[in-house]
Symmetry: D2
Subunit: 327 residues, 4 copies
């Protein structure tokens, strides 16, 4: 039994998903790839059908399920079309650029449609984050009081905005923090150091965010898109009796030239390659089994957007403490 | 296109392979499992055909390819039978308990049969070892001069022998060292510290081994089956300009009770789970494609056995330097 | 030439200073120890004169210089007395419990008296912090944008207050951050997660603080007096091109019971033993040489108190951003 | 009470000792420095008396005790002269270039003279090695079975010999291993990989050595004088229940250019600065107190030379297992 998957978007993320599905996920075939740039779609299709029209891919009877990795603004309309076509969808974050649009998607697809929708918050499948959550659950560090997150990248697109740093990057922490703690984010605030000269105008970089969950735990998030030196992802959960943190998952250490070093990748893919593979496998397995999605749901996606929107409100209002609009 | 795999041996290793093939390897189905203990075969088969006779599994027309994870002494005869039945074989190390028997297998299956045979030296697929080899190849540490290997386990079977420590454990270094250095082992020696009181009588534990490859590089191997404290695998390649070493691939670090700690597993499976998955995927891909095996070959298996046998000769002769009988 | 030092306060800190002066600092003798508990003074004196009256010690002609490690509230009056007696003073932080009192001390001792006064912010002598500062100065990480500080202890006194967490612990960061960055703290804010159940009533623990320096850099400080699991001190400076962080300065790593671990001390002395020794040596050397103090000065002490007071104001006013009252 | 110390030898080691005595050791003054190069002696003397004749320094009544850091071949005669002058001596390793000469020194100074003699095996004062020894003593890793030592430097003198690698470098392990284990080395062997092209002719570099102590424990020593990439010192003690190892004592970690790194020094002084300071302090304290030396003794020096000589015999005889000539 094989799930025939169509991939919308043949950029870095879409091509990576197509590749992973084709080489490392059992039970799936990539039967079609769509991109507004047909040549790019063809390159990523590796012989499968290539479309320059996402809706044509969605309508293709040789496509059972759809991965959406297109530009953020078109996610919503593509999700709605795919769900209406009765096809399971794995949509990359965000579900929609704004909270209102995300909510609109849920309304349009309705309850039964929601069962078809999964969101691509892959950190939930990263073995490190999974161990963090287990350690919280089994009480080995005591009740959590603080979570410290650091998210650094090498460089951002030349026209990145301060808001994008939230909706495009910190959105991961907006999802993973309540998932770790099993408690929704209810209140946020925002604060900024001086802007790095490496960041383009219009982008406050780095930024600091605070997320308070209903359990009272405070989570800090540093988002630094232009940290220059490498792709670095940290998460430390501080409990009443101890802490648990992600390591940097390096396989080798090099000694040379008066240094002992491990390496960082220049983008996120090596760091989360395992997480993407495990997420796609879990998605394919659940679709084939007709089982509920073990991935983040559409509602999780809307919840993350609600948090992100509150952070942006705080950003626009001088960092004031802002409540999250819960559903 | 799906490869129908039969697994011989439903012990820890065989059950693990069946499980990996069934959950994480694309292009493969487990259609049969054989074990002298039929109940154990049935448990591992998860609904596939269960046999208490390996040769019945080999003869099953619903089995295209065979994984052999039975007891060491029966590997040879099962390999010959499977190859004669025209089926691709992935045989766990060792190919045979002795060098002579290993050579006899190659003679019996002949050149065309060799093309069907792969050996399960999974470290060649461990991402860490792969990076070590790449670093040697690209010259980033200069020409190698030394390789230090440490292989520690928690405990051995109650009747383990000093020789088993070589043929059952150090055999991995007998394969991976020449693979890393691209140079055959030509000379070995053996030396022992006092025996740990944790080891049973008849087992010298730990042991130290030296392997000299044709390129003059000296490799040390510590094998300690009863190190008690965890499963630990180290490899450091020392070059003329620097070094490269495996890390312990921990995902999280825990702080508690005046300590900062990472964990060790109690056996080898978590450490090499990725390697097994990648090895099995590479094997399935190559068999389906009719391509040469990217795994260790039967000849590699015989070469490793020749090294192991020389080490045992050194052990029996007071640690004297012993040449390896090359083919 | 030997500096005859009197130590006021024979608690943990005073006894430790007396011990360090007597065993590891050249050029100094401990000629007197004072404590309200005479027996404790005698124990710490190891044969030197013991006083139950700090002012008697200050008046002792066999005392050339004074280390003040008494209870915080009496620092101010003892500093003034010692300076008026013409003796060099090394006063443990804080100079005084409140900013106003600290300023009063400076007024009372006057400009010439200030030359006799050093403050015990020992982190300035910790080799790790010194390397952080050098790395900032030599530009190896680019211009700083963020500094992350974490300060965790095992447990606090049973009647500790939220304010004490600032004046007694975070005061170190209030000094070391502007020292590292060579820029004064101008603005602060405060925020708290839920209180750990390990903390006594009346103590918000942990706490998060933000310090903004005049250069625009934002520093975060986590202060957690009852972290339970060990004494942990972190500082990471994030620059525009890279970062530099303190390591945990462990000398050995232990492997046992499925873990690989380094140890934490239960209090601050082992972590900062080197810093105390180097600070005391630098102090003795400068006093003997009649040279300006290389330690923090009285003004540095007042500056740190001004920052601490602003943090407490923010704490009392719901975390609002609060300007620091500069001199 | 001040010990007036004369330092013989104003090379790197002698100048370092003079500097440490003058700045960081209490109870000592450097009153004289001797070197065959008078200008060098003057530079290191910093105003104290400079000699170009070691025996003049020894005879100087303003010298109470002598540190010998001259060239190895003159250690013996200087030790004898200083002891005969009734002065305490701290002699850098080796006591003499050969075992026979070392023994001759002990005979010449006699039993009472031995009480005046300390050897500069500073690792015994390194806090890391001290912790290793304590862990062995307190049984926390179980009874030792193996010790792995790695000693790497950046480069050797252009005319270094294979024998020098033993007498000048591995001599430290010849002392520290029996000190750690509290058991004398009774048997050794030697083995070499191919020579690094970075080493001069006449120098086999690296080398591997095995030391077997009377307790049956086997210690391995890698000595690599031209490892190029940094000064690296490792020691791991493997016990029946666990292990304990030295860490690399880095104070900071740097992230930059896709790497996370700690630094290595280019020579041994930073690694052992603490050990030298603590050793010199202990020596000065014991001489002033008239107490037995807590440092290595002359007999320890002779014992280390006996081990080194056995290793050289093994080297010259094809690596054969060689007994150590015990006293």
């Amino acid at each position: 039994m094989t799930l025939r998957v169509g991939v919308i978007g043949a950029g870095i993320m879409g091509a990576d998903h197509a590749n992973t599905l084709r080489r490392s996920v059992r039970g799936a075939d990539v039967t079609a790839v769509a991109d507004v740039d047909l040549a790019r779609a063809e390159a990523a299709a590796e012989g499968a059908t290539a479309y320059d029209d996402a809706f044509a891919l969605i309508a293709d009877p040789a496509v059972d399920a759809v991965v959406i990795a297109s530009h953020d603004p078109v996610h919503a309309v593509q999700v709605v079309a795919a769900v209406r076509a009765g096809k399971a969808v794995l949509c990359e974050k965000p579900l929609a650029p704004t909270l209102a649009e995300g909510r609109q998607v849920l309304r349009e697809i309705g309850g039964p449609g929601e069962a078809l929708l999964s969101l691509g918050f892959m950190r939930r499948f990263d073995p490190g984050y999974v161990q963090l959550r287990q350690a919280i659950d089994d009480g080995s560090i005591g009740a959590p009081v603080l979570v410290h997150n650091v998210s650094r990248g090498v460089s951002s697109a030349p026209n990145a905005t301060s808001e994008f740093s939230i909706t495009g990057s910190a959105i991961h922490e907006c999802d993973v923090v309540p998932w770790l703690l099993r408690s929704p984010v209810v209140e946020v605030s925002w604060i900024a150091p001086r802007r790095s000269s490496q960041a383009n105008e219009g982008l406050q970089d780095p930024q600091l965010i605070h997320l308070r969950t209903a359990d009272g735990v405070l989570s800090t998030v540093e988002t630094f898109l232009n940290a220059r030196y490498g792709y670095v992802m940290r998460c430390e959960v501080v409990g009443e009796n101890g802490t648990i943190s992600l390591t940097e998952p390096a396989r080798v250490v090099i000694e040379g030239e008066l240094k002992r070093s491990t390496g960082y990748a220049a983008d996120w893919r090596p760091r989360f390659a395992d997480a993407y593979r495990l997420e796609l496998q879990a998605w394919v397995d659940s679709v084939l089994a007709g089982a509920p999605t073990p991935l983040a749901t559409g509602r999780d996606g809307v919840a993350a957007s609600a948090v992100a929107e509150a952070v942006i409100t705080s950003m626009h209002e001088g960092g004031r403490v802002t409540e999250v609009e819960l559903p």
